[in-house]
Assembly symmetry: C2
Homo-oligomer: 336 residues x 2
Amino acid sequence: MPERLGGYTVGFPNRPTILGYAAVGGKKEGEGPLGKYFDAVFEDTHLGQDTWEQAESALQREALTRAVEKTGLAKNQLQVLFAGDLLNQNIASTFGLREMEVPLIGQFGACSTMGQTLALAALFVDSGAADLCGAVTSSHFCTAERQFRFPLEYGGQRTPTSQWTATASGACVVGRGGHGVRVDSVCFGRVCDLGVTDMNNMGAAMAPAAADTISRYLQDTETTPKDYDLVVTGDLGQVGSDLCRELLEEKGITLGGNYTDCGLLLFDRQRQDVHAGGSGCGCSAAVLCAHLLPLMEKEMFKRVLFCPTGALMSPTSSQQGESIPGICHAVCLVRE
Amino acid sequence: MPERLGGYTVGFPNRPTILGYAAVGGKKEGEGPLGKYFDAVFEDTHLGQDTWEQAESALQREALTRAVEKTGLAKNQLQVLFAGDLLNQNIASTFGLREMEVPLIGQFGACSTMGQTLALAALFVDSGAADLCGAVTSSHFCTAERQFRFPLEYGGQRTPTSQWTATASGACVVGRGGHGVRVDSVCFGRVCDLGVTDMNNMGAAMAPAAADTISRYLQDTETTPKDYDLVVTGDLGQVGSDLCRELLEEKGITLGGNYTDCGLLLFDRQRQDVHAGGSGCGCSAAVLCAHLLPLMEKEMFKRVLFCPTGALMSPTSSQQGESIPGICHAVCLVRE
């Protein structure tokens, strides 16, 4: 059963296993450096649906279905689903997973959702509350742009600090025993808000939360960045990940060459015109399931600290002059 | 540690305790039958804030602060907060709890959120993942109306089946030992969608989910409605609760005089012009914390099945012609 390791970090002595996982993405994601590792790439960003929102739901359904298939188990053997997304009232998840007939515990952690859902799935399995759980999230460039920024038809200019919301979904099935990458421990994040108000610079808004959670996790577990083959934040992009390094340096923690960010991995920033990098719940979810987990299965990485980050504002809060609070949940993954 | 009782029901052998709880509400809620049992009633629906969204955040902050105060513990002794609301991107929770400096695991279950957050808080405590957790949710008539329906200034007509979103918040602090009502077990709900598309008849949309979760919980625990002093759904209102009775009757389960609905308890339907009853995350949360828990502490009820219900649509999904999926999480509360 889970045990508190001090602070806000929880260890999982039973080491729940990621028994199956899958990543699916859109055309642009397919053309990126990780494109060939996706389980499916959809050239049509509508995925044959009438609306982009329905397309995003289809992404979640595809990712989870493929993740379950890889375990050799049936969908109805899942006992709990943890899912969330960026859309108002989590509709990508609800409508995407409606037909699963499995209990759904809806999550909202903005772009940190893959960490949050994976952490809760592992906690349920480790504690005995469930034998088999699903963790899934998604984002879609077209649904996010029109909800958070402008209608695509408006053709708005993008600033150099802005990031590109990934059209992607990632899903993990977590259970006991078996072969695969295991979830060692998690550190749930606090809301951090240093007063950034620029909706085109999410990386800077989220970096303080990443630095807070990473430093607390390292302290709670009495480890340093050198103890990990990779420390990877969610979707800080170039601006935010540089800032995260700086903030941790101020705390006496040096992130070396083993630090990177999912927002820097998903796209080729020069070639694909994504400015500061990728973002969206689907960014870290797809990088986890198309890149990190496969490399861990091949034992190229044995210990990874996966730290997805989220910006917790809404268009309403920003229009009302509020700053952008950030959050980050850290999940330590091990390949033994 | 938690144990699966069959199906999707999880039992908590350590029986986590609701060590503190509080309910706060607006003027109309204060004038209702439960008004005098609220910890605070705010005559000014702005709570001194600039916007209604900020007022809703203030409601959550007030409720949680008062719940923590009653435990005699300090806010920073909480290890995890589970919180959610109806607003886009959960901003009532994020901005309301931003200054708590406690890890936040954002939840979305629409009006079922009080059940979902309380269930997760209990599961974390029972499993040892945390010693002390907070569960909180809110709704605000003015934020909900303008987000889900029409600007208040529009003066839209309300149908007889429509419900009144509560301006209220409820919060529980869950820990180990001590005196108080205990969380015995929970059943997490599946998404149920029978195709209701009328956004002015949420009760009917949510009733199938309530019937599904209640029947599964009773089956998993081998109990009948007679084993509970009270079975109480979230915010089905008159239309939905009648339908819930019918749907359960079809499954051979008779809800007797010990069944009611939070949406029928919060307001005086005749006198207060709320049509089919109260609704919103804050409805079941406030009824729990202003009515059910106090009566359980006085041992007037010893065993209550608390079943908040949620409608998982968004204005976007409804505008796109989607039906309204419902969900219900059941939490069994005991006073020993």
